[in-house]
């Protein structure tokens, strides 16, 4: 296992557009780092640059302290799990797991032992003789994971590995991945657009926006202390309420937007804000209630048992300390003292 370091990494396409722009990022040995962002933010390209599948326009990639920018993928000794699984369809599961070892020229006995160990670890021993087309989506995902693990590479790269699974299986595999990381202790670099995966899996999250690093830190920090409106909006479901200060009954301020997370806005009959219920979305334990205020709709949290219907008049309450303030022009977060 090894650390990975990106210095001033840029990828510019022929039409002049930047996929990745001057990215500086250090991933510690054994860290689980999530690269997140909306589609087209450059996260997958970043992963390809680390893997050596694409060449950077400028900047360097270091693995374990050595500059590998000009090396081919095979010389970098990384493993990657693809969104589409990319299993070799002409080989059975054993052949797929053995493929990287065979290419590396391992002895047949050692190869067999490693494949069996990995299959055991992932619970796919009974599938070893099957072809990929005879497997379900979840089983293919496991095989793809196994093919990465069997290598014992210096770092693991994941390119939205769970996106093709249905919701239940995705949650289960997410848990298994996290456990696997704890057990193996490898360097994991994980690309996803799913904020829930980023929140639950990672030690740190690198949020990307238009090829740049928007914010880097533990998921909790990005959630509680977003540095910009973009970061605040990306994390949290339902999304952050954003409006002018006056709409929440705060003192009006030009060029400032305020954000308030739905769970910090509660339904309260005596609440100072009055509005009409626009929509109720029961989620089990909680219910999300969208309320039409004066000129703006906001989402608030209520008990799952609440009996509200569209059109009812309700009151809302929030703690003023929970309000996040942003510069309307730049989207930068304004801290209490500065704002």
């Amino acid at each position: 296992m090894a650390s990975v370091r990106l210095r001033g990494l840029s990828k510019q396409y022929r039409d002049g557009a930047f996929a990745v722009r001057a990215l500086d990022l250090e991933i510690a040995d054994g860290e689980f780092l999530c690269l997140v962002g909306p589609s087209g933010c450059g996260k997958s390209t970043t992963l390809h640059l680390i893997a050596g599948l694409e060449e950077p326009t400028s900047g360097t990639v270091e693995i374990g302290g050595a500059d590998v920018t000009r090396l081919s993928p095979r010389e970098r000794d990384l493993a990657m799990v693809f969104q589409s699984y990319a299993l070799y369809p002409h080989l059975d599961v054993r052949g797929n797991l053995a493929f990287p070892l065979k290419v590396a020229g391992l002895s047949p006995a050692l190869l067999r032992q490693r494949v069996d160990e990995t299959a055991e670890l992932l619970g796919i021993t009974s599938l070893l003789a099957r072809k990929p087309r005879e497997l379900s989506g979840g089983q293919r995902q496991r095989v793809a994971l196994g093919r990465a693990l069997v290598r014992r590479p210096r770092a693991f790269l994941f390119d939205e590995p769970l996106s093709n699974l249905d919701a239940n299986l995705r949650a289960q595999m997410r848990g298994e991945l996290k456990k696997l990381h704890e057990t193996l202790g490898g360097t994991f670099i994980y690309v996803t657009h799913d904020q829930a995966e980023a929140m639950t899996l990672s030690d740190r999250v690198a949020l990307m926006n238009e090829g740049r690093l928007e914010q880097l830190g533990p998921a909790r920090t990005l959630y509680d202390e977003p540095r910009s409106l973009f970061a605040a909006r990306f994390f949290g479901a339902p999304a952050l309420n954003v409006c002018a200060p006056a709409a929440l009954g705060l003192s009006p301020q030009d060029g400032v937007l305020v954000g308030l997370r739905p769970e910090h806005l509660t339904i309260d009959a005596q609440g100072p804000l009055r509005g009409r219920v626009y929509l109720v979305e029961p989620m089990g334990a909680d219910a999300w209630v969208t309320v039409q205020l004066d000129g703006v709709r906001v989402t608030a949290r209520a008990e799952g048992t609440i009996a509200l219907r569209s059109g009812d008049e309700v009151g809302l309450r929030f703690e003023p300390t929970r309000v996040l303030r942003f510069d309307e022009g730049t989207g930068a977060r304004l801290t209490a003292t500065g704002g």
């Binding site: 893997a51 050596g52 599948l53 081919s72 993928p73 095979r74 990384l78 493993a79 990657m80 693809f82 969104q83 589409s84 699984y85 990319a86 299993l87 070799y88 369809p89 002409h90 493929f99 990287p100 290419v103 590396a104 072809k131 990929p132 087309r133 005879e134 497997l135 989506g137 293919r140 093919r147 290598r151 790269l157 093709n164």
Partner: protein, 162 residues
């Protein structure tokens, strides 16, 4: 592009100048040349259909570019290779005009030319011609049956989702 009859004249001159008359090489070279564009076209589309991620996965798994081609892409393109091979074989096996023009010695005649020359001035030996045609078609049928399993599309199913 041109009909064969338009090219056979100049080709005959070229074959004669190269001293390839009555040599099988005199047929092999033109057949290969004329089959090449179609083969490339079919094979290109076959290789393009292979998922790019398989190539990338092979490179990550330690293959060189050629290694990824040999170990992953080539086996997956097998149906395309077989199809193309069969098409080229059939067109060469049945080709008549070049074979008639570039060979004159009886032992160098190809099957279609030999069958055409069954006819003499006096009679058309239809029964022999029919029998010879059946015999000449047998290898094609045998080959097609042999590779039928390979021709079945969908070998890549299961590689990637969808």
């Amino acid at each position: 592009m041109f009909p064969p009859i338009a090219t056979v004249g100049p080709l005959f001159l070229a074959v004669r100048a190269l001293g390839l008359r009555d040599h099988l090489a005199g047929l092999v070279v033109p057949y290969a040349t004329f089959a090449l564009p179609l083969s490339l076209w079919i094979l290109t589309s076959h290789f393009k259909e292979l998922p790019l991620e398989l190539y990338r996965a092979a490179k990550i798994d330690g293959c060189t570019s050629f290694g990824a081609f040999r170990r992953v892409l080539l086996p997956l393109a097998a149906p395309g290779l077989v199809t193309t091979g069969l098409l080229v074989f059939i067109s060469s096996w049945n080709e008549f005009l070049f074979a008639l023009t570039f060979t004159s010695a009886p032992e160098r005649r190809t099957v279609p030319v030999a069958i055409a020359l069954f006819s003499s001035g006096h009679a058309e030996p239809w029964t022999q011609i029919a029998a010879a045609s059946v015999v000449a078609t047998m290898p094609l049928v045998a080959l097609t049956l042999l590779f039928q399993r390979r021709l079945v599309a969908g070998l890549t199913s299961g590689a990637v989702k969808g």
